[in-house]
């Protein structure tokens, strides 16, 4: 940090979107200071240990008599996370868990993976292929969902005619279907009905497609957006293995956010956690005579302070100054509410509310062995990556091995006492993703939340019980399975304040849009939002200092010497690799 605490951008919140934005801005040469009011990285997408999760739940669950004046941040958190209820006893080895506040599956081809790879963050962490997707069936327990076209061919459960219909659907769903006749007039039709009427798929197959491949939360989701989503998943399949999805180690999103923050720090970003903001003085409101005016940073930089925000933090004596402020919805200081400009991105979604449950299990969910493999790939294929040939070779043995990372889908009406309209997605991660100690598993349940009269516990407990009874019945003679710890809550989309749409051109405070928190969508949506915020920020900084920024870093990168902003890209290919391997002896 400069001795004078002089920055281009102040970013508030270390959630995934903010962290990607901060990393991109730092890499583009801007000076970033990045704050979080929490003592941990990741904000609403954090990976927490079990004791941190308990504290997280308690501080949001009830008004604390010891804290009669909760911070605006805590108040906004209590609007977002509601009806929280947790087990009192925290299991042992609490610190060996990484529980995600934003459980997510990463599509193997998509905006987030692109950002991970191009920023270099991918090499900081580990990723695991989603091993299995199953559908709950009250008669057989868990039915495997075909992970690939090969699996469909191998399936014993479908007739040849069905397989042909299914393949026809997959051909269609992978294609550029916009405007073709199979879709015409059906864009708004409920997806399950569409599959049954247009592709003549029977209920069991259409349920599998809608809930286990396209991750619909209800049968009524309109066909066009679901098809577009499914196409992205289908096109992700095969990049790293059969499954389109990856699971990040240590709780995923929270760890990935930390990686982006590190990239920002490596490029000069300054990180300050756990220090509440004491005051923010917007530009022009008062001359700040006491602040030292520094001209040392760049030739042509405007004198600081009068045109900048000045921020005082608790326990940090030096003021920070910044041209613009970028904030997550939950950490936006109340004083900026009227001035902030909500950045819109292409994936703007109103955002759904979910009832959620996080439970710790001490036994794996008994998935059936994968569809029989009549010796197709065991011969080994040199083109295949090591991981996937290992997988093929050990598939037989894996049948006996507990499934570590999987999704179990409960379609609507699949469970007595469960929802008749909404699907429940159960996502499980174990030691293989470094998120739980050996032999322990984290189970995340979520259901689209509609009925505000029902508590999240009463909505989700039947599903948890069904899973526990699957586990109990698979374990001959063993004791009844129980959850070691559970927390139930409702997550609403962030309340974005009503913002003035006028004066957007002059805005210097940007509000990050709230993104979907759905299992398969949230990670990519964060990356898309970050890109939109990044370009908006660059545009404002350019307008603010047309002269100051053009010399920076541009002499060597471009011969033109012209306006560097035309060239600023979101994680451009850089000399990152050279810098990293500077000490390499090859």
């Amino acid at each position: 940090m400069d001795a004078d605490g002089n920055f281009d951008v102040l970013v508030l919140g270390t959630g995934l979107t903010e962290s990607i934005t901060a990393a991109a801005l730092s890499k583009a040469g801007f000076k970033v200071v990045h704050l979080d009011v929490n003592p941990y990285y990741g904000a609403d997408e954090a990976s927490l240990t079990l004791d941190e999760l308990a504290r997280w739940a308690d501080s949001r669950a009830h008004p604390d008599p010891a804290d009669p004046n909760p911070s605006p941040y805590l108040l906004s958190q209590r609007e977002t996370f509601k009806a929280i209820h947790r087990s009192l006893v925290i299991p042992e080895h609490a610190r060996h868990y990484s529980v995600s506040l934003s459980p997510s599956l990463l599509t193997s081809v998509g905006p987030l993976i692109t950002s991970l790879v191009s920023s270099g963050v991918s090499r900081y962490g580990g990723y695991r292929l989603l091993e299995r997707v199953g559908i709950y069936d009250r008669e057989v327990g868990i039915r495997s969902v075909p992970a690939s076209k090969e699996d469909i061919f191998k399936s014993q459960e479908m007739t040849l005619l069905e397989k042909r219909r299914l393949m026809r659907f997959f051909m269609f769903a992978s294609s550029d279907f916009e405007g073709v006749k199979e879709l015409e007039g059906h864009e708004e039709t409920g997806f399950v009905e569409y599959l049954q009427s247009v592709f003549s798929l029977r209920a069991q197959v259409s349920d599998a497609i809608a809930y286990a491949l396209a991750f619909c939360s209800t049968a009524a989701e309109p066909t066009l957006p679901v098809l577009q989503r499914l196409r992205r998943y289908l096109r992700s399949s095969g990049r790293y293995g059969a499954s389109p999805f990856l699971v990040g180690h240590y709780g995923g999103s929270g760890e990935i956010a930390q990686g982006f923050c590190r990239v920002s720090a490596v490029n000069g970003g300054v990180y300050i956690l756990d220090r509440p903001i004491q005051s923010i003085t917007p530009p022009h409101t008062q001359p700040i005579a006491s602040s030292p005016v520094s001209e040392k940073s760049l030739p042509g930089t405007a004198p600081i302070s009068e045109s900048k925000y000045t921020i005082m933090l608790k326990d940090v004596p030096e003021p920070l100054t910044a041209d613009i402020i970028i904030s997550s919805p939950s950490q936006l200081p109340p004083g900026l509410r009227d001035a902030a400009h909500l950045v819109s991105s292409t994936n703007d979604s109103p955002g759904e509310s979910f009832a959620r449950c996080i439970a710790i299990l001490d036994r794996p969910i008994p998935f059936p062995p994968p569809p029989a493999t009549p010796d197709v790939s065991s011969s080994g294929d040199p083109a295949k990556p090591e991981g996937s040939s290992d997988r093929a070779a050990s598939e037989g043995e894996e049948a006996a091995k507990p499934v570590d990372t999987a999704v179990l889908v409960f379609p609507p009406s699949s469970l007595d006492g469960g929802s008749s309209t909404a699907a429940v997605h159960a996502f499980i991660t174990g030691q293989g993703t470094m998120s739980a100690p050996q032999g322990k598993y984290i189970l995340y349940l979520s259901i689209a939340f509609s009925n505000s009269e029902k508590s999240p516990e009463s909505q989700l407990k039947p599903y948890l019980d069904a899973i526990l009874s699957l586990i109990s019945s698979s374990d001959d003679g063993a004791s009844t399975a129980e959850a070691l710890f559970k927390v139930f809550y409702i997550q609403h989309p962030h309340q974005t304040p009503t913002l003035a749409t006028t004066g957007a051109e002059a805005a210097t405070a940007l509000l990050i849009p709230s993104v979907s928190t759905a299992l398969t969508e949230t990670a990519d949506a964060s990356s898309v939002a970050a890109e939109a915020v990044f370009f908006k920020a660059v545009e404002i900084l350019k307008a603010k200092h047309p002269e100051a920024w053009s010399p920076r870093d541009s002499e060597t990168k471009s011969g033109s010497g012209g306006d560097v902003f035309e060239e600023i890209a979101f994680f451009p290919p850089t000399e990152f690799d050279d810098a990293e391997d500077a000490g390499e002896e090859w």
Binding site: A265, N267, D390, R391
Partner: protein, 253 residues
């Protein structure tokens, strides 16, 4: 050991993630710079620039490839991410022999590592800037260069200047005290000078001797070479940087 077996092991360079920890301005980056490129920069800027440096270290019949992670300044406001030291097989916790509080900070890092990091992690404690407390023949000139090593804005004013005559007085952490702590906590212990190079290479070679290489080698197999993949089955792990050109139907022909 059978020749054939050791021969094949020698071909493998074992990747080891090593993290640096310690208070700001104790010379973490300078120690690494000395190790990696045998250089020293007075007036070094606070750490900016590289995600990690790599350096091979030959040890008897094996080659270690250190992946050395610097804090990138994130320790300054106590904001170092847990991701930083997760999966590290080794850590060098640095303090400044002329600053007693830096040893206290080092102890909190050791505690954090022992609580949170890989249980097999090898930790070395390094008391840096030992050149400042050694009366040297060319004391006058060398000490006056060293004072510039207090390398960033957070350095305590007035702490660095070293007159040759009171070099011994600058020492605030007695060697015996730090060594006793290191023994008690099960750490390797060194006093180092990034400026002169004293003790620096030893830190890394002694760590290399103590690291359970067989364990790492066995567990990183199939984990796309990730250094962090210790101690578990990794057959489902993927490396995002690979397979980028792989078509979606790269099938079995």
């Amino acid at each position: 050991m059978a020749d054939a077996a050791s021969g094949s092991a020698a071909d493998k360079s074992v990747q080891v993630k090593l993290v640096l920890l310690g208070e700001a301005a104790v010379g973490k980056s300078s120690v690494v710079l000395r190790f990696v490129s045998n250089e020293f920069q007075a007036n070094k800027e606070p750490t900016i620039g590289a995600a990690f440096l790599t350096q091979k270290c030959r040890l008897e019949d094996r080659v270690l490839r250190y992946e050395i992670w610097d804090t990138a300044g994130q320790e300054r406001f106590h904001s170092l991410a847990p991701m930083y030291y997760r999966n590290a097989q080794a850590a060098v916790v640095v303090y400044d022999v002329t600053k007693a509080t830096s040893l206290e900070k080092a102890k909190t890092w050791v505690k954090e590592l022992q609580r949170q990091a890989n249980p097999n992690i090898v930790i070395a404690l390094a008391g840096n800037k030992v050149d400042l407390v050694q009366p040297s023949p060319a004391a006058g000139s060398s000490a006056s260069e060293s004072e510039d090593e207090a390398d960033d804005a957070t350095a305590t004013p007035g702490e660095a200047p070293a007159e040759a005559s009171d070099a011994e007085n600058l020492r605030q952490v007695p060697r015996e005290e730090a060594q006793a702590y290191a023994e008690e906590a099960g750490l390797l212990f060194f006093e180092t000078s990034a400026k002169t190079g004293e003790g620096v290479v030893e830190v890394f070679t002694e760590i290399a001797k103590k690291i359970p290489l067989e364990h790492i080698l066995a567990s990183s197999r199939g984990a796309a070479g990730r250094p962090g993949a210790a101690g578990r089955s990794a057959s489902q792990d993927v490396s995002l940087d690979e397979n980028q050109s792989k078509g979606k139907d790269a099938c079995n022909c």
